[in-house]
């Protein structure tokens, strides 16, 4: 298959656009693979891509129960950032952000990565102090962060309420200029195409129904399209991690929760950054089509339903209107829900499991999209070398038992509070 380039677009324009081919093959599953990745979302496809590209493991299959981009990869609000404070998280997310900066070239696919900045608003002196601390921690880790005054916030986000009537007056904010957004479907499609070009079998409509374990190590998977043998299985199934792990007899420190997202009717360019409210859970950005994309907190109870409830929708919109009163006049176009793997400390799990040959990538809470390339990069290393990379050592499954949890918010072992 040829590279996508300006020349291929011009040539196609002159030849009636007949040059377009399917972006990846539609292979049948082989009887065995060197490694199998369960889950054809961004994380699973990125893992397969980096396995083939950096570790020479090319006999790989990605098994997807639905279609590529049909899960949480296509349901998130597309925000990318690395504004973490704790050591174990900060370097990992920063690696991911660095991979994002080169991703369109790496994949030969435009993922529309836009570094429009991420602005966290502060509404009290105490919150300003907390942001100064986080910003300093980020800078010490070599990550960009600027502490802004209310006047500087106003220059970036003039649509916020700076009047005396504001319910939660804005004191300032913490800005990460290198953060931004990316087109989420393109990320899945780009990784699928790039992995396919390196020989990875991307197999859709193939649901894993069982994991074969003999004497403490994996031997293969059962699927709706037959049994497949393998010695290495990587799980990357956001939302259903506990379901898959149960097939191998594992109980995890994870609950599945429900998160809603919303998009308004399209309007002219209005907000050219990502803004998060500091006095409630609300964040907003504008898509390239013009719709305002926003979301808030979890609905708060265990759920696999992929649809939300109205009290949370109302709460999120109230937060939005308190921050940006002009939102009041907009109509909501769509809202939807996704299933989040919420871990007990709010940080993801990437690493080995007690079963030999079974590797786990999950528990992304509501922050999985930004980690897509970094997650695939370290997970591929973990699978190929059978040991974690330095960047994901702190994200091990065993940290809950040893007490080395990574609780960025300090909320304790209640998944719904992270």
């Amino acid at each position: 298959m040829n590279d996508y380039s300006v020349w291929s677009v011009l040539r196609g324009g002159l030849t009636g656009q007949r040059h377009w081919k399917p972006a990846w093959r539609d292979p049948d599953p082989q009887p065995s693979y060197d490694a199998i990745i369960v889950g054809g979302g961004g994380h699973g496809l990125a893992t397969a891509f980096y396995l083939a590209k950096l570790h020479g493991v090319k006999n790989v299959a990605v098994l997807e129960k639905g279609w590529i981009g049909g899960g949480n990869t296509g349901r998130n609000t597309t925000i990318v950032r690395s504004n973490y404070m704790l050591e174990g998280n900060a370097h990992f997310y920063e690696k991911s952000l660095q991979l994002w900066e080169q991703l369109s070239h790496e994949l030969n696919y435009n993922v529309m990565f836009s570094q429009r900045g991420v602005l966290n608003l502060a509404h009290s002196d105490a919150q300003m102090d907390a942001y100064a601390r986080r910003g300093n921690a980020m800078r010490l880790n070599g990550i960009d962060a600027d502490l802004l005054t209310a006047e500087q916030v106003r220059e970036i986000a003039p649509m916020c309420d700076f009047s005396d009537k504001a319910r939660f007056p804005i004191h300032g904010g913490l800005f990460q200029p290198r953060g931004g957004t990316a087109r989420h479907d393109a990320v899945a499609w780009g990784f699928a195409r790039a992995a396919d070009r390196l020989g990875v079998d991307v197999i859709q409509n193939c649901e894993v129904t069982g994991i074969d374990v003999e004497q403490g190590r994996v031997t293969g998977v059962q699927t709706t399209r037959g049994a497949i043998k393998t010695k290495k299985i990587g799980l990357a199934v956001a939302g259903h991690t506990t379901q898959l792990a149960e097939m191998a007899g594992l109980r995890l420190p994870i609950e599945s929760h429900l998160l809603q997202a919303m998009v308004s009717e399209p309007l002219k360019p209005w907000i050219d950054t990502v803004v998060t409210f500091g006095a409630g859970h609300f964040y907003i950005s504008q898509s390239d089509k013009g719709g305002l994309v926003f979301g808030g907190d979890l609905d708060g109870y265990n759920s696999f339903a992929q649809r939300g409830n109205l009290p949370m929708l109302e709460h999120v919109i109230q937060c939005g209107v308190a921050l940006m009163p002009s939102l009041k006049r907009l109509r909501l176009l769509r809202h939807w829900g996704g299933v989040m793997d919420m871990t007990m400390d709010g940080s993801p799990i990437i690493g080995k499991t007690p079963i030999e040959g079974l590797y786990l990538n999950g528990g992304w809470c509501y922050g999985g999209f930004k980690a897509t390339p970094g997650s695939g990069w370290v997970f591929a290393h973990t699978i190929a070398q059978d040991r974690p990379h330095a960047l994901n050592e702190a994200l091990s499954l065993s940290r809950f038992e040893t007490g080395a949890v990574l609780d960025e918010r300090g909320a304790g072992p209640t998944p719904g509070w992270h």
């Binding site: 259903h240 506990t242 379901q243 109980r251 995890l252 420190p253 994870i254 609950e255 599945s256 708060g300 109870y301 265990n302 759920s303 696999f304 339903a305 409830n309 109205l310 009290p311 007990m344 809950f400 038992e401 072992p413 209640t414 998944p415 719904g416």
Partner: protein, 86 residues
Amino acid sequence: MLRIECPWCGPRDMVEFTYVGDGTLQRPAIGAEAGHFDYVYLRDNPKGVHVELWRHGAGCRQHVAVKRDTLSHDILQCGKPGEVTK
């Protein structure tokens, strides 16, 4: 909107309640060496019937046990803690 039948106050909207979590966990006995990790961290997280606790913060402030389907959000049974089992 979920409607939860509080055994002390009657049927109320979910907004009066705070979700507590899995209601089937057994706290290890005082002085027990083992079992704390399982109790604090590990969950069954069923896709289907889940027995859970909600706290009626805007009412009687008691814990209410609810049997609910996590796939459909249907509430199957409500009662006092310990009365509702899988």
